[in-house]
Amino acid sequence: MVYPLISALGYSFFSWDGLMRESFAGLDNFRRVLTTVRYQEKFWNALGHNTIFFVITFVMQTTLGLYLAIQLTRKRFGMDFLQTVYFIPFTLSMVVVGFLWLLLLNPTWGVFSQGLKVAGLGEWVQPWLGQKSTALITVIMVNFWRWIGFPILVFKAGLVGIPEVLNEAAVIDGASKWQLFRHVTFPLMIPTISMVTIITFIWDFNAFDLVFVMQGSSGNPHYATDLLATFFYRTAFGDPTIGGASGEIGIASAIAVLMFIIIGIASYFGIRMMQKKEVKY
């Protein structure tokens, strides 16, 4: 585990010819990623997509996901069944998820488009994955469809951990449902929410499979869905879009190290914030 990560750092300081290490290059690889035209634009482009990816997923899971978790925690009819339903996509391989939605969203034959036509909304049908304006958000939604089962599960575990006494006390004091949520449930859920957020961040900044399967290694259309991981993959193992150029290990290592730094810093501050906000009871 540690060896590959340390040597990734080492690799990033050297210049490479194919898989052979050539000479020490200092920070030159980093400079090239961040300042030369060839890489710089793609890097910031991908970083932006990863950020959007994370932010949208985060907002949706902490609103919709938390709402679902609260509903599912109530001992009501059918909740166990619903829990299973929401979780099933999470057991699927990203490859299956990618292909499944690729077929469902196909503008001509896909069931999604057919459904819209049947509902008389034929003009709404669009090549969601093929046009720049909608491709990224579509991929994010497909990812969300598979992912949400996990946050729900963890939120549920957190909710069950809140002592019943606290809820009862608040109800006796006359708190409304919203007040109960706002002043009791939510503050006590902050550690769980933060933990899930950190995990989501790490996942989303490593996302690869879905874009690779649905949009190819260069994040079609025209890099509109390119992520750091696909950018890294192209740089390391060759890119068919730039004439099958072979990989550049030094540059790719520098990208990996930058990704590692981003994830590391974000997780560190995430955990720090979580510890500060933690409520004792």
Binding site: Y11, Q71, V95, V111, L153, N206
Partner: protein
């Protein structure tokens, strides 16, 4: 906030409550449909011929024959991919359990100088995504002549599963009273026998959790096979799927059958072991 009293308000509140409950259920159901319907479609379409699918995408299939599945299984090499996936994921789990249980037992039960340090070392690994180390790993595998072998995946998976597994197992070993081990020692067990005959059976639930938590992502993994495996006969299901998709792009019925075959094992596993599944996924994320 003002507190409300009075019979009228109470009635209103009850009505409001009922409406809210209704909308909650409505929303929950609609969402459940969004989650399950694509999967229902996937299974239904798997039974259809391509022609049938294009003319009637929503209806039930005319016949419920297993032919598409058999076709996929034989023609598209799915038997090979399936065998590889099973072999790789299972071997990796066995190797992982062997290493992780020994490491966790040592951390939990033997007091030595760097006990805590070793534990922290494993713990740090939980947060670090192994994928970022892919380049050195790739070159390492190349130098070891392991590229394009099943072993490369087994070793990578087993190693990447260590941090989480050691974390779960150490917690479990710590809950077992030391007296049990002491008693066994008095009865003549050596240290390894205590571990093997007394401790290991007692942490069986944790072993099940470790198994499931690791088996699922490995079964579904696409990234490492994509980079390590080249020979078609060694490919796992997710990687094989991409080949299969390229070849049969026009035969949608067959594509859906392939997806069903790839997904069914884990679905069954999840339904059978959902308790271990849930405890495994939440143990890392929720701490007191």
């Amino acid at each position: 906030m003002t507190s409300r009293t009075g019979v009228n308000n109470n009635n209103n509140n009850q009505l409001l409550e009922k409406i809210l409950t209704f909308f909650n259920y409505l929303l929950l159901t609609v969402l459940a449909l969004i989650f399950i319907y694509p999967l229902v479609l996937m299974v239904l379409t798997a039974f259809k011929s391509t022609r049938e699918f294009f003319f009637d995408p929503f209806g039930l299939p005319d016949t419920w024959s297993l032919k598409p599945f058999i076709d996929v299984w034989q023609k598209a090499n799915f038997n090979t991919y399936f065998f590889n996936s099973v072999l790789i994921a299972t071997s990796a789990v066995i190797l992982l359990i062997f290493c992780a249980s020994l490491a966790a037992y040592a951390i939990a039960r033997f007091d030595f100088k760097y006990n805590n340090l070793v534990f922290m070392f494993f713990l740090a690994g939980i947060m670090i995504p192994i994928r970022l180390g892919i380049l050195p790993l790739f070159i390492l595998m190349k130098n070891l002549n392991l590229l394009d072998t099943r072993l490369s995946l087994i070793l990578t998976y087993a190693a990447s599963g260590m941090p989480m597994s050691v974390f779960i197992l150490t917690g479990f070993f710590k809950t077992i009273p030391t007296e049990l081990g002491d008693a066994a020692r008095v009865d003549g067990c050596n240290k390894f026998q205590v571990f093997y005959k007394i401790m290991l059976p007692l942490v069986r639930p944790a072993l099940a959790t470790v198994t499931i938590v690791n088996f699922v992502p490995w079964w579904n993994d696409f990234f490492f096979p994509l980079l390590f495996i080249n020979t078609d006969a060694l490919k796992t299901i997710p990687l094989g799927m991409t080949i299969f998709f390229g070849q049969y792009m026009t035969d949608w019925g067959l594509l859906f059958s392939g997806m069903v075959i790839a997904s069914v094992p884990l679905l069954i596993l999840y339904i059978l072991m959902s308790k271990q599944f849930i405890s495994g996924l939440t143990s890392g994320a929720v701490k007191g």
